[in-house]
């Protein structure tokens, strides 16, 4: 073993030693700190409204429907990396649906419940409280798929639909999740687990980029000298590890009907006995996808615009990954302004 190698090893250990001092002084790691108020609850689902200090300049309020996997705080990770804070600054009135943490008592919640019960209830609540017929709806990832289904079933209540990194065409082979899910016995997974554990899903996500964790933690000692960078890292870690379990029946239908049988684009998906027709999505649609998305590849998102009935639809290509689209440096300058501008032009 030469001297250089020994030095490298010793340096790696020394960096950890220094990092200890910085880490031990962290009291808590906070995310999702933009002020908000609980304005409504339906069953265990909560609806928050973000506090504005000035009247909104875009009159139609925006409801954000995040994925059931992980938590909505990713859009409000820290004050200088907050899609939501940016939207507020640009004049939007923003609501977010907090799906909560399903317990065993929630195992029978279905896809229909999430769409026709929860989303429908919060949409009605916002419509009534603002005295308007239609609201703007923004869906993220799986929350985007739910938003599309809702918009197809209740087009009269949605003024504009924005989808971000949202899977629609599940026939692609581009993403590992899409390949793997076809080989899963989803009935067994749900029957045994009841609710599908968040940890199980996180393991699967970890395997999509098998060495990402090594890379990440290998570079962590270098970040620990800089408190800001360290806190950025920890906030992201906190978000990643906060992974709610999935209500069993909803998960079963989502995987079977969508990942395995691609029923949404085939026009075969049924919710409460009603076929979901994408041609019923007639409102303006902004479809945002990320070019480097390894969870929801562009091949799964782009086809939306070919299947909907809307004449006013736009594809927005964002150079980055599934999460970077919301938390990256570029996103802070581009994404929220693009969304606000698009909505402003249709806020009549």
């Amino acid at each position: 073993m030469n001297e250089k190698v020994i030095k490298d090893l010793a340096e790696a250990g020394a960096k950890m030693a220094k990092g200890y001092d910085n880490l031990v002084n962290v009291d808590s790691v906070e995310i999702g700190t933009t002020p908000k108020e609980l304005v409504h609850t339906v069953d265990k689902v909560k609806l928050y409204r973000y506090v504005r200090n000035t009247p909104a300049t875009i009159k139609t309020p925006l409801i954000i429907s995040y994925a059931l996997v992980n938590r909505y705080e990713m859009m409000d990770l820290q004050p200088d990396r907050s899609f939501i804070a940016n939207l507020l600054q640009l004049g939007l009135d923003v609501y977010v649906i907090d799906w909560g943490y399903p317990t065993k008592a929630d195992r029978y919640l279905t896809l229909s419940d999430y769409v026709n019960w929860y989303i429908n209830d919060v949409v009605d609540f916002v419509r009534k409280s603002h005295g308007i017929d239609k609201v703007n709806l923004l869906g993220v990832c799986q929350g985007g798929t739910l938003s599309i289904i809702y918009s197809a079933l209740h087009p009269e209540k949605i003024k504009n639909l924005i989808t971000t990194v949202t899977p629609v065409d599940f026939s692609t082979n581009d993403g590992l999740l899409f390949r793997w899910s076809r080989k899963l016995n989803i009935d067994r997974i749900v029957d045994v687990h009841r609710n599908v554990p968040g940890e199980f899903l996180n393991n699967g996500f970890g395997m999509l980029k098998p060495m990402m964790k090594v890379n990440k933690f290998n570079s962590l000692p270098d970040l620990l000298d800089d408190k800001d960078k360290m806190m950025n890292f920890l906030r992201m870690e906190k978000w990643i590890n906060d992974s709610p379990d999935q209500a069993g029946e909803c998960f079963r239908q989502f995987i079977k009907d969508l990942y395995q049988e691609n029923k949404l684009v085939k026009g075969e998906l049924e919710v409460d006995g009603v076929k979901v027709k994408l041609k019923n999505v007639t409102m303006p649609v902004l479809n945002i996808y990320a070019t480097e998305d390894h969870l929801v590849p562009p091949a799964a998102t782009i086809p939306l615009n070919d299947h909907i009935g809307s004449k006013d639809h736009e594809l927005y290509k964002f150079p980055g990954g599934h999460i970077g689209v919301f938390v990256g440096n570029r996103s802070q300058k581009e994404l929220a302004p693009a969304v606000a501008k698009w909505l402003m032009n249709r806020d009549k």
Binding site: V5, K18, A105, K128, S129, N185, I189, V192, N218
Partner: protein, 446 residues
């Protein structure tokens, strides 16, 4: 008291240990080159040993004080963590001391037996073994970093520290794997037909396990332990009903896979034969056949699952080994073309990129997807049978069974929906609208 924290002092001591070793190594090399007498070697050794002893003494002295000093600010809740950690550090210091004793013995054997030629032939090999001893000693406290997690209340920092520690150990393994190749390249002494001798499978496996914890055998071992745990409980369930079957069990299970036979069958039989008395009270007459059928299904599925786990691990380790070969080959080509390989961290990043590509390719294959799906299904099926055994065992006890809880949840779910529908009908949205107006007012004045 110095301003350095315990870790910094520890690292400094380690650096001193290593410097001492390198200095000694250099003197040895010079002595060999100069054809000096064995007495010269003994003198060098004695110098090394004295210095090492002094460093060890100093390190041992500072350990206790430093731990106390470094953690004097911890609260009562954290004290147990400090105590636990202190105990581990003492253990490590002891291991460190043992390590030097081993070195000492090694040197004694060496110096007592050598002749002029053996000096030349074996001297540096012995020094290399001392280096290995140090490496082992180095890894001991690195493993001991983990208990530091106990000092934090915040789960995120705990996890970050744990993962960083794990990855750091993975890096140390990489350095150990990489350095013989690097050395051979630097000396322009690479002989491809002999490269296999540098490859250390156990170390490589350890590195992969640390890097990909979610796929490591430990993950599966834990699952198998759970299965065995259930077997344990179920097998103690009713000795009268199963005695005959139990006695025949090892014989009956000979037909299963050798891997399974090697641990599960004898264990299972053993569990049966223990017959823990209190558990016999769980006897639930009439359920014997159901339990027996499910236990048989568990045994059968576990045998298949073990085989699949082996296949799965084979995929993982084969992929890793092939990636390593291609990594070494590519780096040798780069080295020959004049690329600087002196930055180990940079080389490590290249290894990570190579491994990432190889594993992603593996995960993309249909064969892998199918095997992964099959394995997961088998494990869940085993759990399903175990759940049935558990229910059969516990049916007469005053506890709510899982299937009963499921019925309850179904009722609660239906009731929640009906209550919601009724509330909508009875109250309309008047109450909600009122609440919103109030909250809107609050929001506007915020």
């Amino acid at each position: 008291m110095s301003n350095k924290n315990f870790f910094e002092n520890w690292m400094e001591t380690q650096q001193e240990f290593m410097n001492n070793w390198m200095e000694t190594s250099k003197k040895m090399q010079d002595a060999i080159a100069a054809g000096k007498t064995p007495e010269e070697g003994t003198k060098i050794y004695n110098e090394w040993l004295n210095k090492q002893n002094e460093l060890t003494r100093k390190a041992a002295e500072t350990t206790t004080g430093q731990v106390t000093e470094a953690f004097k600010s911890v609260n009562d809740k954290q004290k147990s963590g400090v105590e636990e950690w202190s105990a581990k550090m003492s253990e490590w210091m002891k291991q460190q001391q043992d390590s030097y004793n081993k070195m000492n013995d090694m040197f004694r054997n060496w110096s007592s037996s050598f002749t002029g030629n053996s000096w030349m032939n074996d001297g540096m090999k012995q020094m290399e073994q001392m280096r290995n001893q140090w490496m082992n000693a180095f890894n001991q406290p690195t493993n001991s970093f983990a208990p530091f997690m106990n000092f934090w209340n915040d789960a995120t920092t705990k996890n970050a520290w744990f993962d960083m520690n794990n990855m750091n150990q993975g890096y140390a393994r990489f350095v150990e794997m990489w350095q013989p190749f690097a050395q051979a390249m630097t000396k322009n002494n690479v002989q491809w037909d002999q490269l296999n001798q540098y490859f250390r499978p156990e170390m490589f496996k350890d590195m992969l396990d640390k890097n990909m914890a979610f796929l490591s055998p430990n993950f599966f071992n834990e699952q198998m332990q759970q299965i065995n745990h259930w077997n344990d409980m179920a097998n103690n369930y009713n000795r009268h009903a199963y005695e005959q079957w139990v006695n025949a069990m090892p014989e009956n299970m000979r037909g299963y896979l050798p891997q399974y036979n090697s641990f599960a069958a004898p264990n299972t039989a053993n569990y049966f034969q223990k017959m823990i008395l209190p558990v016999i009270r769980l006897v639930n007459p009439g359920k014997e056949t159901e339990v027996q059928e499910n236990m048989a299904a568990v045994a059968e599925k576990a045998g298949i699952a073990v085989n699949k786990i082996y296949q799965f691990q084979q995929h993982l380790y084969n992929t890793g080994t092939k990636a390593w070969e291609s990594f070494i080959t590519e780096n040798y080509e780069l080295f020959k073309n004049g690329t600087d390989m002196s930055n180990t961290q940079e080389v490590y990043k290249k290894w990570i990129a190579t491994a990432e590509e190889a594993y992603t390719r593996l995960f993309q294959s249909d064969a892998y997807s199918a095997l992964q799906g099959e394995l997961l299904d088998l494990q869940l099926e085993i759990k399903q049978h175990n759940d049935k055994v558990a229910e059969a065992m516990m049916q007469n006890l005053p506890v709510v069974l899982r299937s009963e809880a499921d019925d309850l949840y179904a009722t609660i779910y239906e009731l929640r929906k009906r209550v919601y529908a009724l509330e909508k009908q009875l109250n309309g949205d008047a109450v909600e609208a009122k609440e919103v107006k109030a909250s809107k007012k609050k929001a506007a004045t915020a």
